[in-house]
């Protein structure tokens, strides 16, 4: 659905552009091409704020004191009408966010670093080594960052690793934990609650409050896990 995209009023000072109703790499690539265009020099025009991208949608804030709501909508629709940003993108390929090389994240799998790995293997009927091999095989795309500061939603996860979230979320997940849930994998950049299955941990610092930007990863980046 959502072709053409939906442009929905989101309160008095933002529009929500909806490109689809599911997590799909090509839709996500479109999100980032549109976001990149809106962020480029001058973006779509004065009065439009920095877009906030997600899986299949993006929020475009605007300042009603600088641009009429109708004009903000027209500016966004003009960007959407440009085939260069709005046509379906290559499957899992890099979008306009840049042709970046995958960022390698070293991971210690299992043991105290990945307390759920054995259970995950048992539930999926595979060996721990197979789970690690499956998890380290793909180049993942950062579909979006959210949940907690710097938390990357990475996908697609191989279907062989698909599991629902844990029935009982943990109240404290250690920083650096690498986790899976559904068709996605993620990294907890800071200690936080969490309901995903913890299969490993990285020593890489993904969130550094003193850095600018504080997040090591940016939406649209490509990521590969490396077992250590």
């Amino acid at each position: 659905m959502a072709d053409p995209p939906l442009v929905i009023e989101y309160g008095e000072a933002a529009l929500l552009v909806v490109l689809g109703d599911r997590v799909d790499p090509s839709v996500n690539a479109r999100v980032y091409r549109i976001a990149a265009r809106l962020l480029a020099d001058g973006g779509a025009g004065p009065g439009l704020g920095r877009p906030v991208p997600a899986y299949a949608s993006l929020l475009v804030p605007f300042d009603p004191e600088r641009i009429e709501a109708a004009a903000a909508r027209r500016a966004v629709e003009e960007v959407l009408a440009d085939p260069a940003v709005s046509e379906p993108g290559p499957e899992a390929g890099p979008g306009a966010a840049g042709d970046r090389a995958p960022i390698e994240i070293p991971v210690r799998y299992g043991g105290s670093d990945g307390p759920d790995l054995d259970e995950v293997a048992a539930r999926l009927g595979r060996s721990v080594d197979e789970i690690v091999a499956l998890h380290t095989a793909p180049v993942y795309r950062v579909f979006m960052i959210g949940f907690s500061p710097g938390f990357p939603y990475l996908g697609p996860l191989p279907s062989e690793l698909e599991l629902p979230r844990r029935a009982e979320p943990r109240s404290r997940v250690p920083a650096g934990s690498v986790a899976i849930a559904g068709r996605q994998t993620g990294i907890y950049p800071t200690e936080s609650p969490g309901g995903w299955h913890l299969i490993g941990r990285t020593g890489e610092r993904l969130w550094d409050p003193a850095a600018d930007p504080p997040s090591r990863l940016d939406p649209g980046d490509l990521v590969r896990f490396v077992a250590t």
Binding site: I8, E9, Y10, G11, E12, A13, A14, L16, V18, G20, D21, R22, V23, A35, G49, R50, P51, V52, P53, A54, Y55, A56, S57, L58, L59, P61, F62, D63, P64, E65, A69, M144, I145, G146, F147, S148, P149, G150, F151, Y153, T190, S192, W207, P209, A210, D212, P213, P214, S215, D218, P219
Partner: protein
């Protein structure tokens, strides 16, 4: 120079927030009640978006290491200077050695203590606001604790002492019969057709766990919901959670969410949401986006007129609650 003797339930440094970084999961943060932050700062003749101390519910005790003036805004949380009750909406002189104590009170949840020139803390990514989850802003990205020292941007400036807010609106209205203005949310197509009507016709009660991330509401019958593909959320977004009950997101809300957004609070009424405390009663009224923008302009004009009367600098771009990118 103020020393924190007791932080109370929660005290943080907040300014008008840090919009524009939601793409990496950074909350907008900033004062939950941007109106009262502005009042506290304007009382001292400062821009409305200077960093100030946000006091939550009570228990906070501050000690004046040197004589200074504070702008007191927001809820009347039983503030006392050495046992003498002091009201918000006034710039109070604190003599050296005096204690400013928030003994607790209602209505309202948050008070603001401004210092001349703002509390002197460095800006991180354009804002001094404390973001507890991200661990940045304010004092080392953390809540205030005993022994912390807070310096004013302008030391020794006592000129504002005794200045009063020129109007009855030093704090946002807290009358629960005065409904909070909302607009229809972006996910109504995923919700039962009467979802908006239920939101507007129900008398809601604030759940016990209200915090800077959001205010959960209880009341009425649950609205049947499924999850949606996560999309961006902003302060003021009203999500329907799996319990079928709404949560109004506040300044520290996460940046994306998978619960459908049924409605969004008009920016002009966001300060009122920031003053809700557990047990408070809330009603909503549906307005158009045009009406919401009109109310926002009205709010800004009221602030501008008050600022002019007390001779403060009326600069609006940073009025908190404005979640622009």
């Amino acid at each position: 120079m103020l020393e924190v003797v007791e932080p109370g339930l929660l005290a943080t440094i907040q300014d008008a927030g840090r919009p524009g970084h939601q793409r990496i999961g950074l909350a907008v943060a900033g004062a939950c009640d941007g109106w009262s932050l502005a009042v506290a700062n304007l009382l001292l003749g400062d821009r409305p978006d200077r960093p100030a101390i946000e006091v939550t519910l009570g228990g906070t005790v501050l000690f004046a290491r040197e004589t200074c003036v504070i702008g007191l805004g927001g809820a009347d949380l039983g503030a006392e200077i050495d046992g003498r009750p002091v009201r918000p909406g006034i710039a109070h002189r604190l003599d050296r050695g005096a204690h400013l104590r928030f003994t607790g009170g209602r209505p309202g949840a948050r008070a603001y203590v401004a210092l001349p020139g703002g509390v002197d803390v460095p800006a991180v990514l354009g804002s001094a606001s404390t973001d507890l989850r991200a661990g940045l802003g304010g004092l080392g990205g953390r809540a205030l604790s005993s022994g912390d020292l807070l310096a004013p941007g302008r030391r020794g400036d006592l000129t504002a002492a005794g200045r009063r807010w020129p109007g009855p609106d030093a704090a946002p209205p807290t009358d629960p019969s005065d409904p909070i203005a909302v607009m229809p949310g972006p996910d109504l197509r995923h919700l039962p057709s009467d979802a908006m009507e239920t939101i507007a016709s129900t008398g809601w009660t604030v759940a016990p766990d209200a915090d800077r991330m959001g205010v959960r509401l209880l009341g009425g019958s649950p609205i049947a919901v499924g999850s949606i593909v996560s999309h961006p959320v902003v302060p003021g977004s009203i999500q329907l959670t799996e319990t079928g009950m709404p949560i109004v997101l506040l300044a520290d809300a996460q940046t994306v969410g998978g619960y459908p957004v049924v409605a969004i609070v008009a920016r002009a009424d966001l300060p009122r949401v920031g003053q809700l405390r557990p047990g408070d009663h809330v009603r909503f009224v549906v307005v158009t986006a045009d009406e919401a923008r009109r109310r926002w302009r009205l709010l800004r004009r009221r602030l501008a007129e008050a600022a002019e009367r007390i001779g403060a600098e009326a600069t609006w771009d940073g009025l908190a609650g404005d979640a622009r990118g």
